[in-house]
Amino acid sequence: MQPESPRGGSPSLPSRLAGPAVSLALLAIILAIASFFAGDYLQRILIIIGINTILVVSLNLSNGFTGVFSLGHVGFMAIGAYTAAVLTLPVSLKVVNLPSLPHWLQQLALPFLPATLIAGLLAMLVAFLVGLSLMRLKGAYISVATLGFLVIVQVILVNWDQVTRGARTFAGVPPHSTLWNVWIWAVVAVYIVWRLGASAFGRDMRAARDNEVAALSLGISVLRSRLLAFCLSAFLTGVAGSLWAHFITSFSPKSFYFTQAFNIITMLVIGGLGSVSGSVIGVFFITVLSELLRNAERGFDLGVFRLPPIYGASQILMAVLFVLVIVFRPAGLLGGREIDVRAILRRLGAPRRGKGAA
């Protein structure tokens, strides 16, 4: 992951921190500007980007790094969302909306952070139990099985009305998600996945993904690496679910079904499987683009001519884009590589360096 410095030998600590430090500083500045000057609309967009970043980066951990193409990850998001929402809902609302809740739960109203952590842990526990059986399967069969998992979660959510209100809207969730706490989680998630990917364990995961048999012969436990990635990614996805629930403040089981799953997978693919910075770029790109298209499709007045609203055009264009990326750049926008911030800094600092490495 870390390129060698031109003088040979591994880079010193300060220069290793340069890349992340610059990125973090940039992020903090953007967030500060946004929280003071940007209106509600832009803040919403930034929060959505933040939550989507967590979702995509954690999906990348499972799909990209280990090759376990999970189609049902949204199930963990649902588990996280409902768990955290039930925990943080004020007692007065619980009595009205969830009258049949067990007494101890009904009297409980937790603050945001503990509820989010519990949500993530519960999702991780479910992932562990489910993964024990699923991670042995191969290729397309894992995908079907995870799809089955999504359906099972959906059915349970729709029918366990005492806790989830079934198909009815779960409303009144306190709006705890702010620009800052969402992005702090996003940074944490990116950091975890990045470090994991760069570690020896990450190497094992990718080895198992690329050639299962060879990896086994090298003593790498394929099952263990897949399971760990699956559980960790479920934890992060569950946290994202909690953040989402406290942003949207009202939802129902169908908010966590196929449409949402496709959205996340779209962003993952366009950014590039296996590349963490690719995921972040992919999320940003897609969210911004789809908002732009959404506003554009309402029709606009160019003075000379008027374009009438064509609702649905934005979805089509996104689908076309998706096809184009898959066909022409199947490894995603970043081609599976990571952004090398240090190289960018070097280039900026010494522009007349000749044909440097990209």
Binding site: Y41, R44, V158, I248, S250, K254, I281, L292, R294
Partner: protein, 390 residues
């Protein structure tokens, strides 16, 4: 790499422009219109939007309200909560609308209404019938339609009084809030009136095959007098068709989800002897004068008859808001809210709207429709004597 970075930056700037820009107010009263023009809800919302636009056009042709034109700022919700939230935020922050309306479903409404409330602006839902909605967004969320408890009670009373039904079979879609509540309220009122439930069964939204449920029903010893099927508009045609194909001839009863051309188109002759409650009978021959005028205008504007009563609901909602603005004497959101709460006896295509003190659900009569000879006919106008509490 550089080109990509450039594209991303340009996009971000453009987005900023879209978010921050906004045409100057000037001579129009801006009202936000939120409907799902695409996605699963479009069959109900698109006609509502059409009705709304027609009303705005008529109002403007007659001189507008308070001397200004009504401008409907429209957004497509795409049946997606995040999109709806973003759109509502744009309406409140960028377009600075004085009121918002839309949607035929509680989930969608709940995605937008809190944002409207936070901005001090009313949200009137034209078609979401859940009576629990106003409690979830205090002071600012209004319904322009009756609540499900009202239409279910009307259905129960009609079944017992007019259809002489003593026993019923219930088939409820468990995947939608609307159908769950409707079924629950119907059962409550029907049992209260002395009726008996022989079997309560269920299905999932979008199921295409009901052979198993129907076989179970036919296997019962006690045959029900009435079949109450709580279904949304997309599934009702398929269900009714299969019910009739399986040989069951009892009358079928449902809610306003049946108010769609699909019922007769898909079920064909099977739709005979089907009853349902809805907001009004949209029929050029049998409707009220207001309905006839509405149909003519709609036909002229959109080249086809109103698809269902939801078109009328959208129309009435705009007229309702315009009336409130007129009585408020200004386009101030707070004044509009006070005037809206004071609405009494406003006649519309879908009935008369009045809000009692402290209630944001109108007391509206229920129209019971019977399908006869492939057409919707008026069975009875019912005002329920007793309504289950939400």
């Amino acid at each position: 790499m550089k080109t990509r970075l450039a594209i991303v930056l340009v996009a971000a700037v453009a987005l900023l422009a879209a978010g921050c820009g906004g045409k100057g107010g000037g001579n129009a009263i801006k009202i936000g219109m939120l409907y799902n023009m695409t996605g699963a809800q479009a069959s109900l919302d698109a006609p509502s939007a059409n009705g709304a636009k027609l009303a705005a056009k008529e109002l403007n042709a007659a001189g507008g309200v308070l001397g200004k034109k009504i401008e409907l700022v429209a957004f497509d919700g795409k049946t997606d909560a995040a999109t709806i939230g973003n759109s509502a935020t744009q309406l409140a922050q960028t377009d600075k609308v004085v009121a918002m309306f839309g949607f035929s479903d509680s989930d969608m409404t709940m995605a937008a209404a809190p944002i409207a409330a936070k901005a001090g602006v009313v949200f009137v839902t034209s078609g979401a019938t859940s009576p629990k909605l106003p409690d979830q967004v205090p002071e600012y969320l209004y319904l322009a339609c009756f609540g499900d408890n009202v239409q279910a009670a009307a259905a129960a009373e009609y079944s017992v009084n007019a259809l002489q039904a003593k026993s019923v079979y219930l088939l409820i879609d468990k995947g939608m809030e609307y159908t769950l509540l409707l079924g629950k309220y119907f059962k409550e009122r029907f049992v209260e009136l002395g009726g008996k439930v022989v079997l309560e069964d269920n299905y999932q939204t979008g199921d295409k095959d009901f052979s198993a449920q129907l076989t179970k029903l036919k296997g019962l010893k006690a045959k029900p007098d009435l079949l109450f099927i709580s279904s949304g508009p997309d599934d009702v045609g398929t269900i009714v068709k299969q019910v009739r194909d399986s040989g069951l001839t009892q009358p079928i009863m449902g809610g306003d989800g049946y108010d769609t051309p699909l019922l007769v188109e898909v079920a064909g002759a099977g739709a005979e002897n089907v009853y349902f409650t809805t907001h009004s009978l949209i029929d050029a021959d049998l409707g009220t004068d207001a309905v006839k005028k509405f149909i003519t205008a709609y036909q002229a504007e959109y080249k086809n008859a109103p698809e269902n009563a939801f078109a009328g609901l959208g129309y009435d909602t705009v007229k309702l808001l315009a009336d409130a603005i007129k009585r408020a004497g200004s386009a101030d959101p707070k004044a509009i809210r006070t005037a809206l709460q004071a609405t009494k006896g406003l006649a519309g295509v879908t009935g008369e709207i009045s809000y009692q003190e402290g209630s944001r659900i109108p007391q509206k009569g229920v129209t019971v429709i019977l399908v006869k000879d492939g057409k919707f006919t008026l069975a009875q106008e019912v005002v329920p004597q007793k309504v289950p509490t939400p």
